[in-house]
């Protein structure tokens, strides 16, 4: 359905405003290098994300998982340059080989919302309650396409239809509060897709939703990614969601990436003690009512991150070196990279 519509009246309008779709397999679509974002001034500098590097290939779905406060949302926001207003962003965000971190606002605006779109964590607060849903989709179409008024309306209906909102044509004039939480999230996705982005940044797109609705939304995102060759960075703290949708997973802890690899590797043979702990505390395939594995302690606050490995105070495999030195993300044998001096396997004895 989507293919049809994009090949008919839309294409013509769109080509002129947008660069050619990036299909090169050799180069990653997005290449984030040594990205750090800090808040506050020199005396009280809080490093929210610290030296984060990863890539996203065209059509790939990358999962960013980790506990609350680990820096997932800040990472997404920093990619789009949304944290510049209140924080310092260092490092490179290479979008099709152009560094977005040094781009002017004008250039950024061309990319934001058209080539890279974002869905925010709170579906309630990211729609304007005073404007009809139709108007909000139309606004985005107006900004990123050169369609005529009637074509935009037609396209809006197609988009709502695409994200599975029944009788879409009648609902254009409804206000956000007339939609349920799940439908509002779909409207958000429809708005994000209006410009046919090449990369979708989805910040916990289903956390506020029920499992049955979550399944619908995830299926939708998977479908779109497949049909439009759209890349996705999916932030989630639910390992199940990551397992079911992502191609690769990056585990984040205390503002750093601690392990990155293909989804099956990370979920079956995690090596970083934090990934192992996270995975083992999920009550799946364990004896009912048995004691769950739980990492002791709580994540460090931004203000007092340990000097060495951030995870050292909670790590069952910590060594003396871990307290003083900071491990860097390194290739670990197979296709994974791990930031740890003492990588483990999920069955190894000293974690129990």
């Amino acid at each position: 359905m989507f293919q049809q519509s994009s090949s008919s009246d839309v294409k013509t309008g769109q080509q002129s405003t947008k660069s050619i779709r990036y299909t090169s397999k050799a180069l990653p679509l997005l290449d984030v290098r040594n990205l750090s974002t800090s808040f506050g001034h020199d005396t009280e500098k809080l490093l929210a994300i610290d030296d984060v590097s990863f890539t996203v290939a065209p059509g790939e779905i990358l999962g960013l998982v980790g506990e609350s406060g680990s820096g997932k949302s800040i990472t997404l926001r920093s990619i789009l340059g949304l944290t510049k207003r209140y924080g310092q962003v260092e490092g490179k965000v290479l979008w099709k080989n152009q560094n977005m971190n040094i781009m002017k606002n004008k250039e950024l605006r061309r990319i934001r919302g058209s080539e890279i779109a974002m869905i925010f964590q709170e579906p309630m607060s990211s729609l304007n309650p005073l404007l009809t849903v139709g108007l909000q989709i139309d606004e985005n179409l107006k900004a990123h396409t050169k369609l005529s008024r009637s074509a935009r309306k037609k396209r809006s209906i197609e988009l709502l239809d695409l994200v599975g909102i029944p009788s879409a044509a009648d609902r254009l004039d409804d206000y956000p509060h007339q939609f349920s939480g799940g439908m509002r999230q779909r409207v958000m996705i429809a708005i994000a897709l209006a410009s046919e982005p090449e990369l979708l940044l989805a910040d916990e797109p289903t956390t506020a939703l029920d499992v049955t609705i979550q399944q619908q939304i995830l299926d939708l995102i998977l479908d779109l990614s497949k049909n439009m060759n759209m890349s996705v960075i999916m932030v989630t703290h639910d390992l199940g969601v990551a397992a079911q949708t992502c191609d690769r997973i990056a585990v984040m802890y205390g503002g750093k990436l601690v392990e990155v690899g293909p989804v099956r590797e990370i979920l079956r043979n995690p090596q970083h003690p934090y990934s192992i702990g996270l995975l083992r505390s999920v009550p799946e395939d364990v004896a009912p009512r048995s004691e769950l594995y739980s990492l002791p302690g709580i994540p460090p606050s931004l203000a007092d991150r340990p000097k060495g490995c951030c995870f050292a105070p909670r790590c069952p495999a910590a060594m003396t070196k871990c307290v003083t030195d900071r491990p860097e993300l390194q290739q670990a044998g197979n296709s994974c990279s791990v930031a740890c001096f003492n990588p483990q396997t999920i069955t190894s004895g000293n974690i129990a």
């Binding site: 709580i298 606050s301 931004l302 203000a303 007092d304």
Partner: protein, 285 residues
Amino acid sequence: MTYAPYAQKRRFAVFKFFQRMQPGFIVGLTILSLSLILALFPSYIAPYDPNAFDFNAVQSPPSDLHWFGTDSLGRDTLSRVIWAYSVNMQMAFLATIFSLLIGVTIGALVGYYRGFSDVVFGRCVDAIITFPFLVLVIAVVAVLGPGLINMYIAITVVGWVYYARLMRAEIMAQMANDYASAGKVMGYSDSRIIFRHLLPNAITPVIVYWMTDMALAILLGSSLGYLGLGAQPPEAEWGVLIAEGRNFITTAWWLSLMPGIAIVITGFGFSLVGDGVADLLRPRG
């Protein structure tokens, strides 16, 4: 941030209290403390007897002898303004405190129980606030007769509604928090939940409003004094003083201006303190 390590010990609490005060708050506190001193000890501070006539210095402009000048009977304006502090500060307190107590209690109960009491309360509020405040107060004073006590009664009859409305809304907002439900599930009595749990969390806006209301009470009291419905001459009261000076506004401007300045400064002090208190009472974290 949700997790704050417990670093400071309790004995630093007082120190922290002062540390958290904003400069505006300190200025406000200073103004109000000085006003209070003037109100409590006018006889020690005022250079002259406020009611002593001095026919040698009638309507003399501000000078070394009479900083604020004198009136048509030769009374020292500075002394009269200072003596008026007792009346006007008393006015600020007495005209509002009963409104506060009545309003907070009724508002808390109505906000907690809702139901029929809320309907009755709603009618009361509608009945009272459809009339302009001043008109209503003047009407009550007209019935009871002029004078300070009657003025306090009149202001309270009308003023409690504003406190009650604020309190009701605040209590209802607090009720949305689960700690109120938790109190019920713990089997606590309603009065414990209302006064021990909800009230301390709901009172901040009321205290802030009280501060501005005290400033307003001074203005209102002075207006009524000016209109001859509040304090009665020869009592020194800012409104009365301004009224006395109004016929000489071109010849003896200081008669009305000086008490006017006193009103402005005191009112300013109250609102600064109101803001500061709001800051301090906000729960941390």
